[in-house]
């Protein structure tokens, strides 16, 4: 086989697909569960505040959607018929890892912030605006990984086989 399109190159591409969705859903699951603990604790005393406190859970779900979008994006570039260069394999791996691990970090942040702010919202209603701001900044961490993955993925077609 050619040196720049070795047969093991698709392994890296598929590893990128898997890591994008695996790590981002790990982060989203942690965020959902940690925020859910705080919400259910708060909900026993103030059930009227539950709908507003579910915002961290929705934001953790969006982190998983970012990972899903990146993995679908990378899958679209994999095909058994076209030659697949090692360059493209590394790009896809980098895209998957960047989106996945930033999603893991963002989900972690959303979980802890959601838990603490749900409990604090019970006592002080002005925490709500601060909670939304903190959650937006935590979400943007995952968005940066998505942007880097998108930019990387546009250059995957540049590799040629020698």
């Amino acid at each position: 086989m050619s040196t720049s399109c070795p047969p093991y190159a698709p392994f890296l591409g598929f590893a990128g697909v898997a890591s994008a969705v695996i790590f981002s859903t790990l982060g989203a699951a942690y965020g959902t569960s940690k925020a859910g603990i705080g919400i259910s604790g708060m909900g026993t005393l103030r059930p009227d505040l539950i709908m507003k406190s579910l915002i961290p859970v929705v934001m953790a779900g969006i982190i998983a959607v970012y990972g899903l979008v990146v993995s679908v994006l990378i899958i679209g570039g994999l095909s058994p018929d076209d030659p697949y260069s090692l360059y493209a394999g590394f790009i896809h791996l980098a895209a998957g890892l960047s989106c996945g691990l930033t999603g893991l970090a963002a989900g972690h942040a959303i979980g802890i912030v959601g838990d603490a702010c749900a409990r604090a919202y019970m006592f002080q209603s002005r925490i709500f605006v601060a909670m939304v701001l903190m959650l937006i900044f935590a979400e943007v961490i995952g968005l940066y990984g998505l942007i880097v993955a998108l930019i990387l993925n546009t250059r995957a077609g540049e590799g040629a086989c020698y």
């Binding site: 709908m51 929705v58 959607v65 979008v69 994006l73 993925n153 546009t154």
Partner: protein, 97 residues
């Protein structure tokens, strides 16, 4: 004395009925937002990639998918705030009575 107890029991039953009546709307909202979160981002990605941006140009469809997910989030926040305002109005009316 017994009439007061009966009154309190009636009030508690009414409140329980109201809470259980809300369960239908909560489940409806859950179903709508779950469906929206699942279908809208990926659906908009594939639709915009296949019918508008061409099969190889994948960056704008990715941006559209991320934007749709955030739109669903904004819609959820809006619905939660609206429900909160309605609950506050209802409580004010109850207190006036």
């Amino acid at each position: 004395m017994s009439s007061k107890l009966e009154q309190r029991e009636q009030q508690q039953e009414q409140e329980q009925q109201e809470d259980n009546g809300d369960m239908g709307s909560v489940l409806t909202k859950l179903a709508i937002f779950t469906a929206a979160m699942v279908v809208l981002p990926i659906g908009s990605y594939f639709l915009s990639r296949d019918y508008y941006f061409g099969p190889k140009n994948t960056t704008p469809p990715g941006i559209i998918a991320a934007t749709m997910a955030n739109i669903v989030l904004v819609a959820f926040i809006w619905v939660a705030l609206k429900e909160d305002r309605e609950d506050a109005k209802r409580e004010k009316l109850k207190k006036k009575q």
